[in-house]
């Protein structure tokens, strides 16, 4: 597979996915420009995670097309695609029997990159963990925040242009969470990442993303930059969602 390249764009067109009788994605179309971050928000079961997982072929749509960097993902090898796309799951998903260093080295190792160990050290430095003191520990010996830092390091170690994050900070306490959000903003800028972030927290979406897509029952209710969304909710549902989140336009950084 050719390199994803320097101008990655994510795009979904008319994506449908059905489990049993209920459609989970009911014709979703959206795009993410190079270097931008899109937040997917909505209630549980709205299809946020399912949509996210279409971009690295963990989910195969029943209909519609998904492009990564202008290429239909169905034309790409799924395993090779996943090695080119960073991924941070809920709860970190670190391999408990591997050291922190080996965990972070995972993707460079899978891609047979010659300097995998060095890449892991660099990634650990980037998330603020000294490779010397943290590299030899096991995930069980870390705090929840440290584990999510390792998960972030693992997602970016091989230098992907695209990163997918599935409620990465949902399980953290408020202070740790704020630290992680700051860290993520810094990483995005530094590495010029294109990112899709699933969150149920509108404050987090407004803080971290360039665009917010509100999903409802598998369809995009509204997609707009945070300020525009807050100023002009397109539907009563979006207005209601904003009201329940007690979020106001001056919350935008």
């Amino acid at each position: 597979m050719p390199d994803v390249g320097h101008t990655p764009t994510l795009r979904a067109e008319g994506v449908r996915k059905q489990y049993g009788a209920e459609p989970v994605l009911d014709g979703v179309s959206l795009r993410v420009e190079r270097g931008e971050c899109l937040a997917l928000v909505g209630e549980s079961g709205a299809g946020k995670s399912t949509l996210l997982r279409c971009f690295n072929r963990l989910v195969e749509p029943d209909a519609g097309t998904v492009w990564v960097d202008g290429r239909d993902v169905r034309a790409l090898d799924a395993v090779a695609l996943r090695r080119r796309v960073g991924y941070v799951p809920q709860e970190g998903g670190l391999l408990p029997h591997w050291t922190v260093h080996r965990n972070v080295m995972l993707v460079p190792w899978l891609r047979d990159m010659p300097d995998a160990g060095t890449l892991a050290d660099i990634a650990l430095e980037r998330v603020g963990l000294a490779p010397g003191s943290f590299g030899t520990r096991h995930p069980g010996q870390l705090s929840g925040g440290q584990r999510q830092r390792v998960a972030l390091a693992r997602a970016v170690a091989a230098g992907p242009a695209v990163v997918l994050l599935d409620e990465p900070f949902g399980a953290l306490d408020a202070l740790t969470r704020a630290d992680m959000q700051t860290l993520f903003l810094a990483l995005r800028r530094e590495l010029r990442l294109t990112a899709v972030l699933v969150t149920h927290d509108l404050h987090e979406a407004a803080l971290l993303a360039d665009h917010i897509a509100v999903l409802r029952d598998g369809a995009v209710e509204q997609m707009a930059p945070p300020a525009e969304l807050l100023a002009a909710p397109a539907t009563p549902y979006v207005a209601d969602l904003l009201a329940r989140a007690r979020i106001r336009p001056d919350d935008i950084p």
Binding site: A80, L95, L110
Partner: protein, 523 residues
């Protein structure tokens, strides 16, 4: 780990080959030993030993498989050519093997089996040895006196107030309890429990049961002064003892058949009861009693030196066990060998099978595992009996059975272990680009290893226990003294097999416990 496992295989493979070549030497037919077997009770041991000694005195080399197994196993081995001769009863041949209606007339029974067996099974009956050993139903003298029991018809009337302890063999057979009920109408006891030969008379004497089945030549009948109830409706068929000879011996070695024939008509019921009593109650070695029996009928040889001739008194238990240490050590080594090989085969097949199933749909995998589990429910003796026509007797059928018993826990735990191993980590590894095979190899397998090892440990303990049954198919091991001890009511002999077997199970479990902790990944 892998290197060590390979080393173990290198060590045990020549042992296995050695064990098999010892069971079936590749020598010319004349030099091949005559395999003499018996069923697992005292009289059969004595008769088998008499056959063996008669042959040995005639210059034949004899391989003893005494106590090999009940009718199905002993006869199966004879038909398969794994055994050359064993003592059998004409009535058993007629009813249990030919499946015909029982007959009370001894001459007609012998004529019938002598005619049918060569054509149907390729085995021949030699002329009967002279005594009958038919089923006997016995009660304590006190029970007989207080209830006025003299005949089986009397017993049928009193049965609802009595508890019966019957051998499993007798309960299931057409010429046993089933037929007896038909002949005497009802015979419904207040309680019926299956008791082994070895404990039946003790249970009767101690009052735990009121009625037992036995054989008319049992030594214990005299010892406990039991009353044998008269078979007034002539139900029990004639049970003449005779040598049953396999095709190879009959066709290739007529001289051996003639030598065995010299015993025909020589043994009376009274004499046989005496020999049985000396073995069952006196605890005398079978070889000594058999030699005495041969001397009594004029076939003795006073200059014979083989076997242990000293039977004067019994030494203390510990000294007794100590004096058997070489034997015990050899049996333990054989037992361990059977266990290790059966278990190794189960691991070599079971772990890959479990891993393969982990990649199937869960419904299909569960179905396959349940099918393996069904093997576990086959009674072990039945499984061994199935194996004989396919694999003969000796190490091979025993290993096949041990393998099948050990398979289920290994497959089940391998499957469950890798399925349950940290699903979040496994999903994340896949999302970051591990192939399914890599997820299995690097995530599920190492995380599931403790559960897999726990399954291997369970299988190992099961195998140590099941390997005692290997004695029933002549594979040796610690089951040998247990089976012989049960047959001869020799508690010490039973202990000399049961105690090392229990210790072996504990040792194997402890050892694998250490391995299980070692393979637990650092987290």
């Amino acid at each position: 780990m892998r290197v060590r496992a390979a080393a173990v295989l290198l060590v045990i493979t020549p042992l296995l080959v050695g064990a098999q070549s010892r069971a079936r030497p590749l020598a010319p037919p004349r030099a091949q030993p005559v395999v003499v077997a018996s069923k697992p009770f005292a009289e059969s041991y004595v008769l088998g030993e008499m056959f063996a000694q008669v042959l040995e005195r005639g210059g034949w080399t004899v391989e003893r498989r005494l106590g090999l197994g009940a009718t199905e196993i002993a006869f199966g081995a004879l038909r398969a050519g794994a055994v050359d001769v064993y003592p059998e009863y004409t009535g058993t041949g007629l009813v249990a093997i030919l499946g015909e209606e029982p007959l009370a007339d001894a001459t007609r029974v012998f004529a019938r089996v002598a005619e049918e067996f060569p054509a149907r099974y390729g085995v021949r009956w030699l002329a009967p040895l002279g005594f009958q050993n038919t089923y006997a139903i016995a009660v304590r003298r006190g029970t007989a006196d207080s209830l006025g029991l003299r005949t089986l018809s009397d017993l049928a009337r009193a049965a609802p107030g009595l508890r019966a302890g019957l051998s499993p063999d007798f309960i299931g057979r057409a010429d046993g309890l089933v037929g007896l009920r038909r002949a005497y109408g009802g015979l419904a006891f207040a309680q019926e429990r299956a008791l082994l030969q070895a404990v039946k008379y003790t249970a009767l004497a101690s009052g735990a049961v009121d009625v037992v089945d036995g054989y008319s030549t049992d030594g214990a009948i005299a010892r406990y002064r039991l009353v044998v109830l008269e078979d007034d409706r002539r139900f029990f068929p004639a049970y003449q003892a005779a040598a049953l000879v396999g095709r190879r011996l009959y066709e290739d070695d007529p001289a051996a058949v003639v030598a065995l024939g010299s015993l025909a008509g020589r043994l009376s019921e009274a004499a046989m009861r005496r020999y049985n009593e000396r073995v069952e109650i006196g605890g005398e070695p079978v070889a000594v009693v058999a030699r005495q029996a041969l001397a009594d009928v004029g076939l003795g040889d006073s200059t014979m030196t083989a076997g242990t001739a000293t039977a004067s008194g019994r030494p203390g238990l510990l000294r007794d066990l100590w004096s058997r240490r070489d034997e015990t050590l050899r049996q333990t080594a054989r037992h361990l060998l059977l266990t290790v090989l059966g278990l190794a085969a189960a691991v070599l097949v079971g772990v890959p099978l479990g891993l393969g199933l982990a990649r199937l749909r869960s419904g299909a995998a569960e179905g396959a595992i349940r099918a393996v589990g069904v093997l576990q429910t086959i009674p072990s003796l039945a499984l061994l009996a199935f194996m004989i026509p396919l694999l003969g007797i000796g190490v091979r059928p025993a290993l096949a059975a041990l393998f099948l018993y050990a398979l289920y826990p290994v497959v089940r735990n391998t499957y469950s272990g890798v399925q349950a191993a940290d699903p979040v980590a496994a999903a994340a590894a896949r999302a970051l680009g591990m192939t399914d095979a890599q997820v299995l190899r690097h995530v599920r397998l190492p995380l599931g290893l403790p559960v897999i090892m726990a399954g291997v440990r369970t299988a190992a303990v099961i195998t140590v226990g099941a390997a005692t049954l290997a004695a029933f198919v002549g594979a040796g091991g610690l089951g040998d003294p247990i089976v012989t001890g049960l047959a001869l009511s020799d508690t010490r002999l039973i202990l000399s097999g049961a105690v090392p077997a229990a210790l072996l199970a504990l040792a194997v479990d402890a050892m694998l416990g250490v391995v299980e902790r070692r393979v637990r990944p650092t987290m």
